[in-house]
């Protein structure tokens, strides 16, 4: 069975005493899970915003890629870009 991930090396979170995985989840979410399960959070649980601070996301309205390039690409660069598969980092509707 997969080992359950510890939240920190020093403190044991109530979620760890169960089969809840802490992997990839924030302290705020773990506290929410603890509340769902009816357990009491520990008194020393750090407070953490539930979301993401606005400073860590910026938005550029429109399509930056639609701007004309500052310099004309060489034929070799154009060919390389055409054949390379671009990673998809779009949040398309799911």
């Amino acid at each position: 069975m997969r080992a359950e991930t510890t939240m920190t090396s020093r403190r044991r979170h109530p979620a760890q005493a169960s089969r809840i995985l802490a992997t990839g989840l924030s302290a705020a979410t773990l506290l929410g899970i603890v509340a769902v399960l009816g357990a009491q959070p520990p008194a020393d649980t750090p407070e953490e915003p539930a979301g993401i601070a606005p400073a860590r996301v910026r938005v550029v309205i429109g399509d930056p890629g639609a701007n004309p390039p500052a310099r004309r690409a060489t034929a070799r660069q154009t060919a390389r870009r055409a054949t390379a598969r671009r990673p998809d980092t779009s949040t398309r509707p799911s």
Binding site: T5, L21, A70, P87, P93
Partner: protein, 310 residues
């Protein structure tokens, strides 16, 4: 940068890892297959299907499924029931009764859909015993984890790749994505938000966090003369019709972004933006006329495409 694209969870999954050790992506693909095998409602042997058949009795589940269902309850509570995974009966009644790639694009009206079962029952009666690692659904309730599983999978896989030593990670599960660390070119990850009328609505520059998008224009099918889609309003049990064409949410975790995007779409305007803020998220909403609406936090960071460029 290591990258791969694999079909899973009824969509395309993109795994990107900067400076990842060899074998990390292979292990992540294995984890993805494992999660799909546990959570698919289309696989009779999945933990979700087993749970749906055993309503009223406790079912032993894996830590991943236990956590997924605890998150589902949390999402249901925090969105005031707008996110509700108990819409499975309604979803099937609307015609979404098999994997989407096997769904016929058009069905005769009499054959394609059953009468809507009414409002979804909600998750109030679910019992999650974390110590015994069991979950009990009330009789008559069946779950569709489709509105949260892809996001939580992105969270898990992103954490896995980070723990393996990658300096930057982007896990994109059909548009529900989670990023951490630095992008291949350094700096934040660039996340494109498509516009439902074509082209790109915006680009997000995201260092740590997640984004997800909901739209009734995707996963649609025809039933008689009526167009159906997968975003079920839990209050009516039918595909929702709101003032929103597309809702994109940015927040710390992908499960939360996926849930909040669905809830924002169902809330419609003007409620969608304050709802996203209450959920600790930022949102970019496209209304039926194609106009953009941003939460205050995104407005503060917004720039036009040419700003700051040579």
């Amino acid at each position: 940068m290591a990258a791969c694209r694999v079909p899973a969870m009824g969509t395309q999954v993109e795994l990107l890892a900067v400076d990842a050790p060899s074998g990390a992506l292979t292990a992540t693909r294995g984890r993805l297959a494992d999660l799909e095998a546990r959570w698919s409602r289309f696989r009779p042997d999945s933990e979700i299907s087993t749970l749906n058949r055993a309503a009223g009795r406790p079912v032993a589940v894996s830590p991943e499924t236990l956590t997924l269902l605890a998150l589902a309850v949390l999402g249901w509570q925090t969105t005031g029931g707008r996110f509700d995974p108990t819409v499975l009966d309604a979803l099937e009644a609307a015609g979404y009764d098999r994997s989407f790639d096997q769904l016929p694009t058009a069905r005769p009206g009499a054959d394609g859909a059953r009468p809507a079962p009414g409002s979804a029952p909600g998750l109030a009666g679910i019992r999650i015993d974390a110590k015994a690692a069991t979950v009990t659904l009330p009789p008559g309730i069946r779950l569709d984890p489709g509105g949260i599983a892809k996001g939580y999978a992105a969270d898990l896989l992103c954490a896995d790749l980070g723990a393996a030593g990658a300096a930057g990670v982007c896990v994109n599960v059909g548009g529900d994505l989670r990023v951490s660390g630095t992008a291949p070119q350094g700096g934040p990850w660039a996340v494109a938000v498509p516009h439902p009328h074509g082209g790109q609505a915006a680009a997000l520059q995201l260092t740590e966090g997640a984004a997800a998008t909901s739209s009734p224009l995707q996963r649609t099918w025809q039933v008689g003369v009526r167009r159906a889609h997968h975003l079920i309003d839990p209050h009516t049990g039918q595909p929702a019709d709101t003032s929103i064409l597309q809702a994109t949410v940015v927040t710390a975790e992908a499960w939360r972004a996926e849930v909040a995007a669905k809830a924002a779409f169902l809330a419609g305007l003007p409620d969608a933006l304050p709802l996203a803020t209450r959920l600790g998220a930022e949102a970019l909403v496209v209304d039926q006329d194609g106009r953009l609406h941003l939460t205050a936090g995104l407005q503060q960071t917004a720039t036009a495409p040419l700003a700051g460029t040579a």
